[in-house]
Symmetry: C2
Subunit: 299 residues, 2 copies
């Protein structure tokens, strides 16, 4: 693990090179976290804004009312039923089963979720944090049943969005809307406070070309143990859990993941990624072909 603050000439056009070095490398963040000066109509208190800037995330309890939660859950179930037998890329099913696990691009294909992405208070906060007009980079509804919830390993979303989708800068954030009460034991989101200020450049090249060939895709973009240990040593781990209707906003570069969930408690949620219109995605910084529009909106 090496901390470097300047880049080799070959990567001069890439502020955040990843999957290119032979060794894990920690880079300093080169973008703001909060893109506006705090103001009365920010949608957040000054303390909340400062918490987000320092820690890279913010938990807002009771953001949606119980009535709104009921309505959103009902629409989620209705939309799921509607798609039960439909065959489309944006519908992701359980491996080896037919149960729907996620439906992507709901902001584009469903009126309720389109309205949700334009929710006045949410827009107010997000445009404040990202400094102006935003659009939805990715959205999905997640059906996470109890008993068999799988873990989701540590990652920075931005690492993927940068390398695979061509997102230039750290000027995006995610909003996770809890539709079930969450507990510390049902596999909640874990974040490493403060980790959004460091970019973990993941190992992608090895001296041994054969080994590289044999790497499965999902092994790219995985942060190494030493980097994770350092980030957690510095910032600890938080699990911002709350009642249904609470939301967590988190910066695109915060290190996060979740453990498995064997409890009977499901963990359904709606997930929206907002990106600044000044930060539209382009050619991927990695060598892959761009991912489809329902995962990374280009239109």
């Amino acid at each position: 693990m090496t901390t470097i603050t300047h880049l080799e000439p070959v990567f001069r056009n890439d502020k955040y090179p990843s999957r290119v070095y032979d060794l894990p490398t920690l880079l300093e963040r080169k973008d703001p976290v909060v893109y506006s000066e705090w103001r009365e109509d920010a949608g957040l208190t000054k303390a909340q804004s400062e918490f987000y800037e320092k820690n890279g995330y913010l938990h807002l309890e009771g953001f949606f009312s119980p009535e709104e939660v009921v309505r959103l859950k009902a629409e989620m179930e209705r939309f799921k039923a509607l798609n039960e037998t439909r065959n489309a890329d944006e519908i992701v099913r359980e491996p080896g089963g037919t149960d729907i696990r996620s439906i992507f691009a709901v902001h584009a294909n469903n009126e309720t979720f389109r309205d949700l992405s334009l929710h006045r208070k949410l827009q107010q906060i997000v445009t404040y944090l990202l400094g102006g007009e935003v659009y939805v980079h990715q959205s999905r509804v997640n059906f996470k049943p109890g008993f068999k919830g799988k873990e989701f390993y540590w990652h920075s979303d931005f690492e993927t969005w940068h390398v695979e989708d061509g997102m230039p800068a750290m000027r995006a954030l995610s909003c996770s809307i809890a539709l079930d009460d969450n507990y510390h034991f049902n596999g909640p989101l874990m974040v490493v406070p403060g980790s959004h200020n460091t970019f973990v450049s993941c190992v992608g090249r090895t001296p041994d070309d054969h080994y590289k060939q044999s790497l499965r895709k999902q092994e790219y973009g995985v942060p190494d143990n030493d980097s994770l240990t350092k980030l957690v040593k510095d910032g600890g781990i938080d699990t911002p859990v709350g009642k249904a209707g609470s939301i967590v906003l988190f910066d695109c570069n915060i290190m996060h993941g979740s453990n498995s969930n064997i409890t009977p408690y499901s963990r359904n949620n709606i997930f929206m990624v907002f990106n600044s219109v000044e930060n539209r995605i382009g050619k991927p910084f990695g060598s892959q072909a761009p991912r489809p529009d329902y995962i990374a909106a280009r239109s």
Copy 2:
């Protein structure tokens, strides 16, 4: 799911039949939880004893001093190194690797851990709870590294010990000794308070014999979702976490499990199962051959 309180004649000799019915069945516990009247020299306060009786577990913070923890950790590492290249049944390695995950029967093969099993205060508590002399049914040291800790699905130990090892009654308990600080996010032990009073008879026969044939062994003895949901609805879930040196005592029939652990925090521990000498194991109640002595002591 059916609650029955009497048994069919065919199982009259078995207080806790499991893996024999076609449907999951909940049976009432027929044995005491605490086998002694509380007394001044119980090793527990009356309140602690009552908590254990009601909930089926007890967390004791700071049971071992920091110095004792250091000594136990050192011995664990020493013993691990000693066994690194040894080939023996009681040494369990990571699947697909050579790293040692657990070493069984440490109370029989290592002086420090034999002494630990005879620890005065621990013996005082355990003999109080189980009503007289005890012996070690099973012991092991567990090396649970961070990043890749696997989940352990819900189970009652007694269900296994009864069916596979022939333990007659619920008169045993486990003691888990934490050698690392535990957190709610590093895959700690989860228990369902009060679940020790219900025996979940697991499904083992199906009308379809072919299907039974194809069941893999690890699918036996797994509690069903409806039973788990009922137990959790009644008792909730607790994660008794604490500093290194804390212990958790839990009844042989309490429903417990753990989620995965992707955090950098390891979760090394020592695990001892004490059984009453009045409750020595015999012929398994299931049809399998008895398991080896290092898993279930018969000598």
